[in-house]
Amino acid sequence: MIRVELPAHLRTLAGVSGEVALDLPADGPAPVTLGEALDALEASYPVLRGTIRDHGTGRRRAFVRFFACQEDLSHEAPDYPLPEPVRSGREPLLVIGAIAGG
């Protein structure tokens, strides 16, 4: 299970109040990647399609960031393996709305 923490506006859109749990294996044939986690998130909550990654290109939206285990994963490729503590559910993957605007 992978835990994902969403920013407030996306929690409202998705209709969730806390963390989101994604049913992804901790120990599959290959480590779960950042892209696979986001795919699973959008599959579980279709309303989030286009809010984190652009439709079509799949690129991260400019003012969205991905953090985990005190590291910034925002610039990592979709095939970047998530850190083990995230894959095992001990730490969440954080989706962050960047500090910008008012």
């Binding site: 920013p7 506006h9 996306l10 399609r49 286009g50 809010t51 439709h55 939206r61 960047a98």
Partner: protein, 371 residues
């Protein structure tokens, strides 16, 4: 009971103002979609319970919200606005080619007849249509693929398709306006388009009478006389009597002919409203006095309407989609300001009062006259 519902989009959410036919006491609900920019919020003429909202932020992009029960419940519908084919380029501010990139939906125009059909005007300028209540969107690319499309350039607010008018009399005729490309007309339900700019002059362009490049701010029509169009251009208030084929200036004795919104009285096709703004670099009313100007002669002769509006130290703006009218016997006129006030007049503009004073900056005002 007959009444009105005023749908207000702001920079930080949507609000609904409801009143009976007297329009004296108001119920205010909101913010709905708090924290999001609501560029537009409009009801279906075919079903007043069907509402559409354009909801966006720079962080999380575009959402379209739909209600089937007059706003009691909402659902997010489709938010994928993909340009048809290989989008190509338009002109950027520095004159270089720039790829077409979707930014947001500026305007939603529900069909006059079918609650599930709705048009969307977007930035970068293009027209989309949904025939399934907003679940899916398809570009009507005949507009963007017009021969002139690659030369279109954004105005200061972005290259937005902000005005969509559906002709209730001439089947298949519709109008669109883009800042800063100009005005366009289709006579085949949006398949093909042609510029309708003859008579417009924009002195800030190398060729002031060029076919495209005019910064049209807003176009309005009276539904019973759709061949007559009124336009607030960046500068100049204009009129066409032949569905946009030819335009002539009707600024007349306005204190300034810069502004954004323009509306037509519900029962008097020759009565027109504008809100003069000082200039393109001073986006506030002249002399700090908020005045709606009304012409009862179809233009040229204008009278200031001030009763109930602030006449000193007022430095708000009124944006292009932020004025509308109701169709009660005594026509109501409504507008919202960048200072968060929504003003209403139940007597065609003779007197005004603020329905609410401290909303976030108002982006759009649409009025539903309820049976």
């Amino acid at each position: 009971m007959t009444g009105v519902r005023v749908l207000v989009g702001t920079r930080k959410g949507a609000f609904v103002l409801t009143s009976d036919g007297k329009r004296e006491k108001w119920d205010i609900s909101g913010p709905h979609f708090a924290g999001w920019e609501i560029y537009h919020f409009k009801g279906s003429p075919a079903d007043p319970d069907r509402l559409y909202v354009s909801q966006s932020t720079g962080w999380f992009g575009q959402q379209i919200q739909r209600s089937d029960d007059a706003g009691r419940n909402w659902q997010s519908v489709g938010n994928e606005f993909s340009y048809d084919g290989v989008p190509g380029t338009h002109q950027w501010y520095d004159g270089t080619p720039h790829p077409w990139e979707f930014a947001r939906v500026w305007h939603l125009e529900p069909s006059l007849h079918d609650p599930d059909t709705v048009y969307a005007g977007v930035e970068d300028a293009a027209l989309f249509r949904s025939v399934d209540g907003g679940q899916s969107w398809r570009e009507m690319s005949g507009l963007r693929n017009h021969d002139t499309g690659s030369s279109w350039a954004p105005g200061a607010g972005g290259m937005c398709l902000h005005t969509i008018l559906l002709d209730p009399v001439n089947e298949g005729r519709m109008f669109a306006a883009i800042s800063a490309a100009g005005a366009f007309r289709s006579d085949d339900s949006g398949e093909t388009w042609r510029p309708i700019t003859k008579g417009l002059r924009s002195e800030t362009m190398p060729d002031p009478a060029a076919e495209v490049g005019h910064c049209v701010h807003r176009i309005a029509m009276h539904p019973e006389r759709p061949d007559v169009l009124f336009m607030q251009k960046h500068w100049d208030v204009m009129r066409s009597d032949d569905a946009g084929a030819n335009w002539y200036e009707i600024s007349g004795d306005l204190p300034t002919d810069f502004g954004f919104p323009i509306s037509v009285h519900a029962h008097e096709p020759e009565t027109v409203y504008v809100v003069p703004i000082t200039s393109d670099s001073l986006h506030f009313p002249p002399d700090g006095r908020l005045r709606v100007y009304r012409s009862r002669t179809g233009g040229n002769e204008w009278e200031p309407l001030t009763a109930g509006l602030p006449q000193d130290n007022c430095y708000v703006n009124v944006l292009r989609d932020a004025m509308d009218v109701d169709s009660l016997d005594s026509c109501g006129v409504y507008f919202g300001t960048t200072g968060g006030q929504v003003y209403a007049s139940a007597d065609s503009g003779e007197t005004w009062s603020a329905v609410v004073r401290d909303l976030p900056s108002v982006l759009s005002v649409e009025v539903q006259t309820l049976p």
